[in-house]
């Protein structure tokens, strides 16, 4: 986009919900009861909860598709509770399940809708459409003129996200956007969303009933029980390690510690050094190091510095004059971006219980073994637990304050 150098995308704005309540006529029990929530600028917050808990209603009150019965909504510094809803919605991206693309419009027409409505010029809109298609990983030339029914479910969903982001809104609301696609595509779309968010830093409010999706995508997760009461609002780590009550732990499901491993990367736990030798080192020196040294195993690296073979002292007898037949070839390596779960998987399949960590071009960086994993995971869990306790304490205090205020209000 050389002609638009002021292309600095709008980043997120803070969303503040104050005492948000929705009561439907004829029903004494509110669908959403007194929700207070602050979503920081540039953060992904996931609303997760069982069906009918009011999470979608809460989301739809943010762009006023459902008018709140009472309470205030602030976006950025602006109180939008009484703003013209049509104008408000043009500043908020909205992506829904099964994409919500209009079947009688082409992909380009769908994406261009909001930019046109807010009065962008035809040329600017056209450029933006191409840019958005690029952004969500679809080839503009190929997909531009297609109709939604000519796309796969995953592609439709990408276009749906492109349409939501087309006018560069600071806030993006997503209502179970990946609910209707197959698990593999969903996984891809989730990765894409995380990548997009790294580039765009929007404020995203995302509704799902899939807790695994929540911990994968969310910076923070609000677990909601019926009437949209917040059971716990915290980082995925804290919720996994220290669910505030039975409801949340029931929702987290089994294997919380294993799920926790998905949230930490190898780069965060520190790798240990391992004695190495290069395959083009003189044989004698390798032998000497194995025979004399304190180590009984070496990691042999190929000329490109990539892990090649594990070489034990016992293998020397076989080696004789060459290393061709000695040692065990390295089968698994992990990158520093791999999750601890991937690392654990690799360590478990390795006969000696360690896996080598490689850099971007496959070069050796270090080794992760069972012991490092165990120690690190325990430390992580302990830290999470402390953090969660602290947050819960804060939440309780906040609630107590609120109750107190309400009581005072009643008395006054």
């Amino acid at each position: 986009m050389p002609e638009t150098p002021e292309n600095a995308a709008t980043t997120g704005a803070r969303i503040h919900l104050e005492n948000l309540t929705k009561v439907y006529p004829g029903n004494p029990v509110p669908a959403v009861d007194n929700v207070n929530m602050e979503i920081k600028a540039g953060e992904i917050v996931i609303l997760v909860g069982p069906s009918g808990c009011g999470k979608s209603t809460t989301l739809k009150m943010i762009n006023r598709l459902i008018e709140p019965s009472s309470g205030r909504i602030r976006i950025g510094d602006e109180d939008v509770t009484d703003m013209d809803p049509v104008k408000l919605r043009r500043k908020i991206g909205y992506a829904i399940q099964a994409s919500g693309l209009f079947p009688h419009m082409t992909v380009a027409q769908n994406i261009a809708l909001v930019p046109k409505m807010i009065g962008w010029s035809a040329a600017k809109t056209r450029n933006r459409v191409e840019e958005m298609l690029d952004l969500v990983g679809l080839d503009p030339g190929e997909f531009h003129g297609r109709y939604p029914r000519q796309l796969s479910g995953g592609q439709q969903q990408r276009v749906g996200v492109a349409r939501a982001l087309a006018a560069d809104p600071p806030v993006l609301l997503m209502d179970e956007p990946f609910g209707a696609v197959d698990p593999i595509t969903r996984d891809h779309l989730q990765d894409e969303l995380i990548r997009l968010q790294h580039e765009l830093h929007k404020t995203i409010c995302f509704v799902t009933h899939d807790f695994d999706e929540a911990i994968k995508i969310g910076d923070r997760i609000a677990v909601l029980r019926e009437r949209s009461h917040i059971a716990q609002f915290d980082t995925p780590e804290a919720i996994l390690t220290n669910p505030s009550d039975d409801f949340v732990s029931g929702f987290v499901g089994a294997g919380a510690a294993l799920k926790r491993l998905n949230l930490t990367r190898v780069r965060d736990v520190g790798v240990v050094d391992f004695p190495t030798a290069r395959i083009d080192d003189p044989l004698e020196s390798i032998f000497d190091r194995l025979r004399s040294g304190s180590h009984n195993e070496l990691l042999l690296l190929d000329p490109n510095h990539r892990p090649y073979k594990w070489l034990r002292r016992g293998d020397l007898a076989l080696a004789k004059e060459s290393l061709a037949r000695a040692g065990t070839p390295v089968q698994h390596t992990v990158t520093r971006d791999a999750t601890l779960r991937d690392a654990l998987e690799a360590v478990l399949t390795d006969s000696a219980g360690r896996v080598s960590v490689t850099g971007r071009r496959g070069e050796y960086i270090g080794v992760v073994d069972m012991e490092t994993l165990m120690n690190n995971v325990q430390e992580l869990l302990e830290a999470d637990r402390m953090e969660a306790l602290e947050h819960q304490h804060q939440l309780r205090e906040q609630r107590a304050r609120q109750t107190q205020l309400e009581q005072e209000g009643l008395e006054a």
Binding site: Y94, G100, P103, H104, T106, Y147
Partner: protein, 215 residues
Amino acid sequence: MSFWEYVGTRHAQLLTDTYQHASAVFQCMVLATLLGVFIGVVTYRSEWAGNLATTSTATILTIPSLAMIGLLIPIVGLGVPPTVIALTLYGLLPVVRNAIVGLRGVDPDLVDAATGIGMSRTARLFRVELPLAWPPILTGIRVATQMLMGIAAIAAFASGPGLGNEIFRGIASLGSANSLNQVLSGTLGIAILALLFDAAYVLIGRLTISRGIRA
């Protein structure tokens, strides 16, 4: 005189009648479409209003066309006015019904999406709901046109325009040399017109229904 000789000698009159028949049906259909879609748009959101619109247009259709035109003559006189009023009223039902069914059939998620991305009510109606409901509405227009072709023949009873005059003249002079030819030419003319209109609708459908939703 054989049928073809008859057509040969009277072709000027027949063409005029055919043209007037087509023109009356076409104009009434335009009126019925505008009115019918408008009624559909106004009533489809409410359960009872929609039902009321469908039921009342259906009731109109049960009135025999001859009786309807007969009833209109004392009110609006002879000639074009009763023809136009009767044809437009009869054309309403299929259009109103299909407009309501079509508009109600638009996926609520799409309506939600349209509102959610910031379309005003009017924009949503014209850019999303009506285009998506257009195929059934067009079918309604097509059905109504076929029906009006036949009903328009009755208009001659009120001295209205069209091929009905040919048929009525034939019936009035039953037993005379040309009576059968007159009835036959009127009837055939209407059938041919109906086929031509239908072909036109297929073309209109091609041109106005988005490729994204065409069956």
